[in-house]
């Protein structure tokens, strides 16, 4: 069988183009009538979190307009306490977490009604321990992670039924040791990250078969060095985050070839415009730019700040909070 993979050209970038990425991110969103920018309004809150976390990891957070961002977050909170992607967009757990991450990095949680956020999250928990993403009732382990990460950052994990939440996560475990969106769903690296993150925050990693899952995760590495998110899929920079952070949580980061992965991630930079794409020669976006940088940080790049594998936020921020996390060691 032919392995699905990409070929990295000999003359691809081998240096981390920090300055280029700073320019790319600080210019992103300045032109408000840009097509891409407008079409992604439905995820703006996450977009800001990706951009500012990337900037912080590069040590250039001060290039962004803090006040403008804080005002934006405030405007996106609804009466129910939940936060939407943009002004006028409906509240959802995905964007509520992004907003809390933004405010935590800026150490400015008082900008929003925190007890409103706690109530919003709490009311989305179901009897089986799962979480709805919003009032319409979609269930997904991503939302369990959003809920628990959000409450952990606010120091209010006591507001929900943690045992039930963990029970639901475990009901999504599969034959390969991984996790899917809901019970019965196929294992996917992004969902593994969400489930391991939830278990790490609540101190329940002992339920995981770390060797089996570690094996599945390190099999994501392809000959090009890049990682895919599921068997027989193409490599993608964002999986250097979902897979790497999962391996880090399991204490098995050394199970992959770091040097080859670094080479792959660096090859996904756009030398002209700055930013990272999913694969070499594709279009860049802030999402892959964050996960490219965060991946490099986990791999030990000394020019970047250390990243926290569970929250995907700078480690110094998590340290400042005094947030307790369980990580495994081998």
């Amino acid at each position: 069988m032919l392995t699905k993979d990409v070929i990295i050209s000999e003359n691809s970038t081998k240096l981390l183009l920090l300055k280029k990425h700073q320019d790319y991110l600080s210019a992103y969103g300045v032109k408000k009538d840009n097509y891409e920018y407008c079409m992604t309004e439905y995820l703006r809150m996450s977009g800001i979190y990706w951009g500012m976390t990337a900037m912080d990891l590069m040590g250039s957070l001060d290039l962004l307009d803090k006040q403008q961002i804080l005002d934006f977050v405030r405007e996106c909170q609804h009466v129910c306490g939940g936060i939407g992607a943009s002004k006028g967009h409906d509240p959802h757990l995905l964007y509520t977490l992004s907003a809390v991450q933004i405010l935590t990095i800026y150490d400015a949680l008082d900008v929003i009604d925190i007890s409103g956020v706690v109530d919003y999250v709490k009311n989305l928990q179901q009897e089986d321990g799962s979480f709805y993403g919003d009032k319409w009732g979609e269930v997904d382990t991503r939302f369990s992670f959003c809920a628990i990460a959000c409450l952990a950052l606010l120091g209010r994990i006591d507001a929900i039924n943690v045992d039930k939440a963990v029970e639901f996560i475990l009901s999504c475990m599969n034959f390969d040791g991984g996790f899917g969106c809901k019970p019965g769903s196929e294992t996917h690296a992004g969902q593994i990250y969400c489930c391991l993150g939830t278990l790490a925050i609540t101190g329940n990693l002992h339920y995981v078969n770390a060797d089996l899952l570690g094996w599945w995760l390190c099999e994501r590495q392809l000959p090009s060095g890049g990682l895919n998110g599921r068997p027989e899929k193409l490599p993608d920079v964002c999986y250097s985050w979902w897979v790497l952070s999962s391996l880090k949580i399991l204490g098995r980061l050394h199970w992959i070839d770091k040097e080859k992965l670094v080479k792959f991630i660096l090859a996904c930079q756009d030398e002209e415009t700055g930013g990272f794409a999913d694969r070499p020669a594709d279009m860049v976006d802030p999402f892959h730019t964050l996960f490219g940088l965060a991946g490099l940080s986990l791999l030990g790049d000394q020019t970047l700040k250390e990243v926290n594998p569970v929250f995907c936020m700078p480690e110094y921020v998590i340290h400042r909070l005094g947030c307790d996390l369980q990580l495994l060691n081998v």
Partner: protein, 264 residues
């Protein structure tokens, strides 16, 4: 792909263009964008005054065909449909629901991985007067023919089976058809692993009857020999070895990592 993460447009190749082509494309995009913005503004205004009507369905439908991950826009449609369910006869509402299914299918054809569109499909199926589950199963078959690994569609298929009379034994047969067509179909092996203990349970929890295990073992061995580099079969193989009660399987399990390394 969209929605926080697993979730942005992927695989867009950067194409070198001349300044002229660039300007042309930008002009076109700005035109599209103006329409999109005007539609969005209109639909938000109508929502504010609770003007839930056919016009709202039409405008939001156009917006979603351009951008099926605009989740608030799907929510607005649900509000409109919820109100129209009370205002219209059952027959009329069944018709509206069918139009909704048609719109969703259009969105899915453009983006088969849109969380928003699949999600709306589950919602309307539960909300409409007379859902046609057989038709939905056919839709799953068609989408899985286009992409046998689309996990949204596999999830939707499980939803359809749960709400109709498709039993796990029938689904087990379906997964066999899928793995026989392509041994590398990891999604089908995964589904099989959850169905096998249900269809052929043994007395021990989460175990599989011994006779079935041996047949299954033949199947997966066949897959491994056909393509030793195929991970799908290896992961399933490893799982299968842990399902039996007899000594040989347990023994195998212990040495598994060694076995895998040698075979690879």
């Amino acid at each position: 792909m969209s929605s926080w993460a697993l979730f942005l447009p992927h695989g867009r190749l950067k194409v070198k263009t001349t300044a002229e082509q660039q300007a042309e494309k930008e002009k076109e995009r700005q035109k599209k964008l103006q329409l999109f913005k005007a539609g969005t503004q209109k639909i938000f205004e109508k929502r504010k005054i609770k003007e839930y009507d056919d016009e709202g369905l039409s405008i939001s439908g156009q917006i979603l065909q351009a951008n099926p991950d605009f989740y608030t826009c799907w929510n607005i449609r649900r509000e409109i449909l919820t109100q129209l369910k009370d205002e219209r006869t059952e027959e009329e509402f069944q018709q509206l629901s069918q139009e909704e299914l048609y719109l969703i299918e259009n969105c899915l054809r453009k983006n088969p991985k849109s969380y928003g569109a699949w999600n709306q499909r589950e919602w309307i199926l539960m909300f409409m007067p007379t859902p046609d589950w057989e038709r939905e199963l056919q839709l799953c078959n068609r989408f899985l023919d286009l992409d046998e690994r689309n996990f949204h569609c596999w999830d939707y298929r499980r939803f359809v089976c749960k709400h109709s009379n498709v039993g796990p034994d029938e689904e087990l047969k379906f997964t066999l058809k899928k793995v026989e067509a392509n041994f590398s179909n990891y999604s089908a092996w995964h589904y099989r692993s959850s169905l096998l203990p249900i269809v052929h349970p043994s007395c021990e929890r989460n175990s599989v009857a011994e006779a079935i295990l041996l047949k299954e073992y033949d199947l997966v061995q066949n897959a491994v020999f056909t393509d030793p580099s195929d991970q799908s079969a290896w992961f399933y193989h490893r799982w299968l070895l842990g399902r039996g009660n007899c000594f040989i399987f347990k023994l195998f399990d212990l040495d598994y990592f060694v076995v895998v390394c040698v075979m690879k």
